[in-house]
Each structure stands twice: as C-alpha cells, then as structure tokens.
C-alpha cells in the first residue's frame, strides 16, 4: 500500500536518507525505531509530502507522492498524520478540531460530521471533552483528540511521528492504548516510536534505522528480542537498559 524505493533526501549538505526501500501492506503495523537524527521522522514526513525527497520514489496505493502536484491533497486525505507535539488547532474545541477536515476538506454535511466526530471522541475516551479547547486538555488528551482528528478523515493509513515523546510518563499509556485498539481493528499504521514495549507487542514489523539507512528489519518480536546487527544490538541495549 505504501512503497518507498531508494529514497534519498538531504537537508543542505547533510544527507539524512541514504536510499530507503521499504513497503507497508494494508492492515500492517510497522514501527520505525532508531537513534534520534537517524531520519525516522523524515521518512514519515516524505510519505505524506510534508517534506520533499531528492531521489527515488514513494507511492501510496500506486499514486506517486509529489508534494508539488495537486494529487498530494488526495494522498493526504488517505494518509493521516499524528504529530509529536499534537498540533491541534488551539482556537477550536476538541470536537471542532475533529470535524474540521470532514467539514471543509471532504465537504461532509454538518450533522453527519458532528455525529461522527462525537463518536470518534468517544472512541478515544474523550466524549465529555468535546467542548474543551486544547489548552484546557492534558498532553495525553490532546494527543487522543489528534488521533480522532486523523481518524475523522477515514484514512487508509495513519502515520504516527513519536506520538508519546512529548507526554508525561503517566499519560503515555492512554495514548498507546488507543493506538493498540486501532491496530487490533486492522488500521494500517506506521509508527516512529521509542516505546519498545509497544513495538514488540503491537507491531507486525520493525525497521531499525541508523544514519539514514535501514540497518535491520523483520518481525517485531524477532528483531527486538534477537537483533542480528551489532548496531541494532547496541541501540536496544542502550534504550532498554539506560543505566
């Protein structure tokens, strides 16, 4: 469903992606792990055209991702994104955040969008917060609204860019719980994360990225429990046993 073929990307002289080839099947949950600055987030941002890429190709359901072509708007409605810093619209309520896309991008009738929006907020456990503005919500609640906003577009896949990295530790569980439910429901997900427990339990496959290349990939449990490559072993040791 999502195909990346030898994708290269530089920021100035700094080459962050040095030939990424990967694919994500429908219904699959793929976690991308690796040290910071390894290019994980850049991969996600290239998939929905928030970032351009220099060489290679990316396609979503056979449609080429080109951020300068009008088709990018279609791709973005099919591939939603959840950000590290939530990026909710602060001037709108939780419910308004969720229905913004359906109402103004998909031109859904208001009544229908409202009904779906309320159902989605209930799905992420925030039915009673519909009329709250983002600054009145905790980080975990904001991120769950952001997930509801992404779901409201009825996307074929959702990209998660370190969705729990900006959260207080005690709020991480709520967000991961919502994501786990989505995975169980068969949503196609690409998740950049440092939550190894989540990756092991929920992901079908894990990609380990370092220095702009995929160092190792495979089934989640196998890769995280018995990493083959020394760099993967070293990274996991430092993440799992920081002391």
């Amino acid at each position: 469903m999502i195909e990346l073929n030898d994708v290269h990307k530089s920021f100035g002289v700094n080459e962050v992606l040095k030939g990424i080839t990967a694919s994500v099947e429908k219904g699959e949950v793929v976690c991308i792990v690796g040290p910071s600055g390894s290019g994980k987030s850049t991969i996600l941002r290239c998939i929905n055209g928030l970032e351009s890429y220099d060489r290679g190709g990316i396609s979503v359901e056979g449609l080429k991702v080109d951020r300068d072509a009008p088709s990018i708007l279609d791709i973005r409605t099919q591939v939603s994104m959840v950000f590290q810093r939530f990026n909710l619209f602060p001037h709108r309520t939780a419910l308004e955040n969720v229905i913004e896309g359906p109402l103004y991008v998909k031109k859904e009738p208001r009544a229908q969008a409202l009904e779906r929006g309320r159902a989605l907020l209930a799905q992420v456990g925030l039915a009673e917060k519909a009329d709250a503005h983002p600054p009145q919500l905790s980080g975990g609640q904001q991120q769950r609204v952001a997930i509801a906003r992404a779901l409201a577009m009825q996307p074929k896949a959702i990209l998660f860019d370190e969705p729990t990295s900006a959260l207080d530790p005690e709020l991480v569980g709520d967000v991961l719980g919502v994501m786990r439910k989505l995975a169980d429901d068969g949503m196609t997900m690409v998740v950049v994360t440092h939550e190894m427990g989540f990756a092991r339990d929920v992901a079908d496959r894990v990609l380990f990225i370092d220095g702009g290349v995929i160092v190792e990939q495979g089934p989640a449990k196998a890769l995280l429990n018995q990493p083959q490559h020394p760099r993967t072993q070293d990274f996991l040791r430092r993440v799992l046993h920081p002391l």
């Binding site: 928030l50 409605t77 994104m81 950000f83 990026n87 602060p90 001037h91 991008v105 577009m153």
Partner: protein, 217 residues
C-alpha cells in the same frame, strides 16, 4: 483662553462638519489599507517568489514616499494623466495606499508568528493553501495582529488631517479657516485638539481591550 467656552459654543457646529469628514476619511482609508495590506501580506507569504518580490518592492516604494507627496500626486498629478479624483477620493486613496504598507508588515508578522506545526497539521488533513490560511492561520493571526492594528487606527485618525493639504475640509482645515478669519488661534486650536483627543479615546480603550484579550491565550 479668554472666552473659551463662548467661542467653543460658537465654533463647535462648524467644526463638527470637519469631524464628519475626518471620520469619513479615516474609515475609508482604514478599510482600503486593510484590504490592500491583506493582499500584500498574502502575496508575501504565498511561497511564490515573483509575487513575494513584487509585494516586497511595492511595500518599500510606498514606505519611502511621504504621505503628503502621495496625496499631492493623486490630487494634482493624476488629472494630467487623465484621471480626475475629487479631493475626498484622493485623500482616502492616498492614505489607504500609504498605510497599506504598514498594515501588510503587521499582518505578515502575525501570520509568521503562527507555529509551523499548525500549517503541517492543516496540510496533513488535506487542506490546500487557501483553506489553511482561512481556517487555521488567519483566525489565530488576528489575535496577534489586533493590538498593533488598533494603534494604526489611532495614527490614521490623526494623519487624516493631512487631507487638509489637498483641500478636504476636515477638522484641521476647518479649524485653520476659522482661526485665520477670527484670529482666535488659541481657542480654536485648543478646541480642535480636544476634539481629536475625544475621538481617539474610544480607540485607545479599544486597543487596551485587544491587548488584554491577546494576552489571555
């Protein structure tokens, strides 16, 4: 200040005719400068190089010409080019164009103050450039832009007096005419100053209100 209240009562009705024109010029040029300023600001942040460069040069040209010269140009030079404007039209047009440069820079600053993550969030749900502006950026930028916008309103109220140089009989010119025919300079110009001040006070309060609101979130 001898006989101030007596003179005030006598000249007030005449000066009120000037007040009406002052308000017309201020509101007219405020609206025009807001619309033009928005257009320049949009061009500036459009991401299209040519538009952004045109807008930047326009702003600099406008900023570099004194308002009074702009007014003379519109009122005295344009007729030679076949465009005849009434004094009132020229005043509104001139002040509107002159202030559009400041408005544009103010609007641009407001737009650029919005977190880039907001633009990305809008894009990630499939919004195009215009929809992102209209639904996400501008509603948030308004909050930032309003206090300086209020200050521009006060400045425009006072600068509307420059319209007197092209024969618009607004408050300042009315005052000058009365003063030169009665020689009661002190009383007349004190009254004129008080009338400008009276018109400014609601605007000053409005700015304070905007500032309080902007500070809230």
């Amino acid at each position: 200040m001898k006989g101030f209240w007596h003179d005030a009562a006598e000249f007030f009705p005449i000066l009120m005719n000037g007040v009406v024109l002052t308000i017309v010029v201020t509101i007219g040029s405020l609206l025009l400068s807001t619309v033009l300023g928005l257009v320049w600001a949009m061009m500036r942040v459009s991401g299209i190089k040519a538009l952004s460069m045109i807008s930047a040069s326009l702003i600099n040209v406008i900023r570099g010409i004194p308002i009074i010269v702009l007014l003379f140009y519109l009122y005295f030079v344009m007729p030679d080019l076949g465009v005849t404007l009434s004094a009132l039209q020229a005043a509104i047009l001139g002040l509107g164009i002159a202030y559009s440069a400041y408005q544009a820079e103010n609007f641009r600053a407001g737009i650029e103050a919005i977190d880039k993550g907001q633009i990305e969030a809008a894009q990630s749900i499939g919004m195009g450039w215009w929809l992102t502006m209209r639904r996400v950026i501008l509603p948030q930028a308004v909050r930032i832009v309003l206090p300086p916008y209020g200050n521009v309103m006060i400045m425009m109220l006072k600068d509307s007096s420059q319209a007197s140089t092209i024969t618009v009989a607004e408050l300042a010119l009315q005052g000058k005419l009365i003063a030169s025919s009665t020689f009661k300079n002190t009383n007349v110009f004190t009254l004129v100053a008080l009338m400008y001040l009276t018109m400014s006070i609601p605007l000053i309060l409005l700015v304070r209100h905007f500032e309080k609101r902007a500070g809230k979130r």
